[in-house]
């Protein structure tokens, strides 16, 4: 025991380096190719197509005017994403619980959910603009539509995943619907719920940006900023904004991974990476 504790220190460090080294090597390779294209492939007058990394950092991140604009837009989109995700979770949970309680409800609702999921979001953005205006509400609506399906489907699947033997046990001891839901179905659903949350959270960020791209009224987000920079051929700012929006998506993904580990890690073997 003590021997194992003794080697635990350096062991963790080696573990960490083993985990960090591969992505760092790949990342460096990626930056190398980026430089190679910027300087080796593109002639100087066409270099606006892909600015080299240090210029992107210089203009996009180190010039405070530009960077603060990115941060402001990002915050606005984050708010849209959070609101959209919260609504999607609320609707998703309510529908999943209803569907898990009555086969009839499941049969009735499911086709419409699949249809909603199958509609290309771009095809209904004009309609959403019609109905909800071109401001914040419409952005949130797009966000909800995009992120609803995975949370609904995974929660439903999770609620139905409880072992039939356990259901028998609850039946034998006369548990009512609420007890069965609270003590059996809901805890059993948690691993699947978290899987759905991670997917939906990522999608809610995409939804916020897509919504913002189309609806420009009011508090403009990162979508509007991307649009503006693209039209002005401002490559450095554009790339910086793209990098920051990916960073937002990654942060959200990692946050829910962390939350999952905290909530159910003690009893559930987590199989997803990046925790």
């Amino acid at each position: 025991m003590s021997e194992r504790n003794a080697i635990k220190g350096p062991g963790t460090i080696r573990n960490l380096s083993q985990r960090l080294l591969p992505p760092m090597i790949l990342g460096s390779g990626f930056v190398g190719i980026w430089y190679f294209i910027a300087y080796g492939v593109l002639e100087p007058r066409r270099r606006f197509l892909l600015r080299p990394p240090h210029e992107v950092i210089q203009v996009g991140f180190l010039e405070w005017d530009n960077f603060s604009l990115i941060l402001n837009s990002l915050w606005s989109s984050t708010k849209v994403a959070m609101m959209g995700l919260s609504i999607a979770i609320l609707i998703g949970f309510m529908l999943a619980i209803t569907m898990s309680q009555a086969k009839f409800a499941e049969r009735a609702i499911f086709p419409f959910m699949v249809t909603l999921q199958a509609i290309p979001i771009l095809a209904i953005t004009p309609l959403i603009g019609f109905w909800f205006g071109t401001g914040q509400t419409s952005r949130v609506v797009v966000c909800v539509i995009i992120s609803l399906f995975p949370i609904l489907l995974n929660t439903l699947f999770g609620l139905q995943s409880a072992d039939s033997g356990l259901h028998d046990l609850f039946t034998l001891h006369h548990a009512n619907r609420v007890t069965r839901m609270r003590k059996l179905m809901f805890p059993a659903a948690l691993p699947a719920v978290f899987a759905g949350l991670r997917i939906s959270a990522g999608l809610s960020v995409i939804g916020a940006i897509v919504g913002d791209f189309f609806f420009g009224k009011g508090d403009a987000g990162i979508g509007q900023l991307l649009r503006k920079h693209a039209s002005q051929l401002a490559g450095e700012e554009l790339l910086a904004a793209v990098i920051m929006s990916s960073a937002l998506g990654v942060t959200v993904f990692l946050f829910f991974g962390w939350l999952q580990e905290r909530s159910i890690g003690r009893w559930h073997e987590t199989t997803t990476g990046a925790g």
Binding site: D163, D168, L169, T171, P187, A188, W267, H268, E269
Partner: protein, 244 residues
């Protein structure tokens, strides 16, 4: 017929036309441990489901003291998100027993199955045998007058199985419930029971009955006794006969 658990000409035909049981009649009294052996798919598990009330028989009758029924399934069926203690407390919780009493009952049951020291472990860190013990302890908390066992030790290794057999026997002697046990293993049946019933292939019927008169407590070495082997042989012959 009397008894804590009694079947009277019980029959079961499933909606798809499969006849699982035909005219099964027997009773299990308090202080009796009855084991049913039979080929796979002969309706043994169906019989337990009927005894517990999970299934209604399509003919005949069942009388059972189902108030605080003990039922151990083929799998441990534990709640993954609860510790051993939490799992053992579950049934008392469903029956509305208050916290202090629940704690006490759980501690007692955990002690009985020898899981003390593992109260705070989650099922994922327990071995198969320990999970089964936890499942046993869970049913014990209710002090069931009738205890049903549905091939509970089929999935654990031979050594663990023998240990669990001895522990089950101890529980039977201390708790004095009416036990109905189902198994594939003839030696397990003879070792545990006061009576062994042989069931035929589908549709299940009782085709032979053996009173097992070895004194309790039965020690592990009983398994090497010539009389024990003789009885196992007779049960086996009847079981083979039931296949045709």
């Amino acid at each position: 017929m009397t008894g804590s658990l009694a079947f009277e000409e019980t029959g079961m035909v499933f909606p798809d036309g499969t006849e699982a049981l035909r005219e099964v009649s027997f009773a299990v009294d308090k202080g009796e441990f009855v084991t049913i052996v039979g080929p796979s798919g002969c309706g043994k598990s169906t019989l337990l489901k009927i005894a517990s009330g999970l299934l209604e028989p399509t003919s005949g009758q069942v009388h059972a003291d189902r108030d605080q029924l003990g039922y151990v399934f083929q799998d441990p069926t534990l709640l993954d998100w609860r510790t051993v203690r939490g799992n053992v407390e579950l049934l008392a919780e469903l029956h509305g027993v208050e916290t202090d009493e629940r704690r006490r009952l759980a501690a007692e049951a955990i002690e009985l199955v020898g899981l003390n020291g593992f109260e705070d472990h989650y099922p994922k860190s327990l071995s198969g045998g320990m999970r089964m013990r936890c499942s046993l302890a869970r049913s014990l908390t209710l002090k069931p007058p009738v205890f049903l066992f549905d091939e509970p030790f089929g999935a654990v290794d031979e050594i663990t199985r023998e240990h669990l057999n001895e522990e089950t026997q101890t529980l039977f002697r201390t708790e004095g419930f009416a036990g109905l046990f189902i198994t594939h293993s003839i030696s397990e049946a003879v070792f545990l029971s006061t009576r062994v019933l042989v069931m035929s292939a589908r549709p299940g019927r009782i085709v032979a009955e053996f009173d097992i008169e070895f004194d309790y407590p039965r020690l592990p070495k009983l398994r090497f006794d010539p009389d024990f082997a003789e009885l196992c042989g007779q049960v086996s012959i009847n079981l083979r006969g039931s296949h045709s």
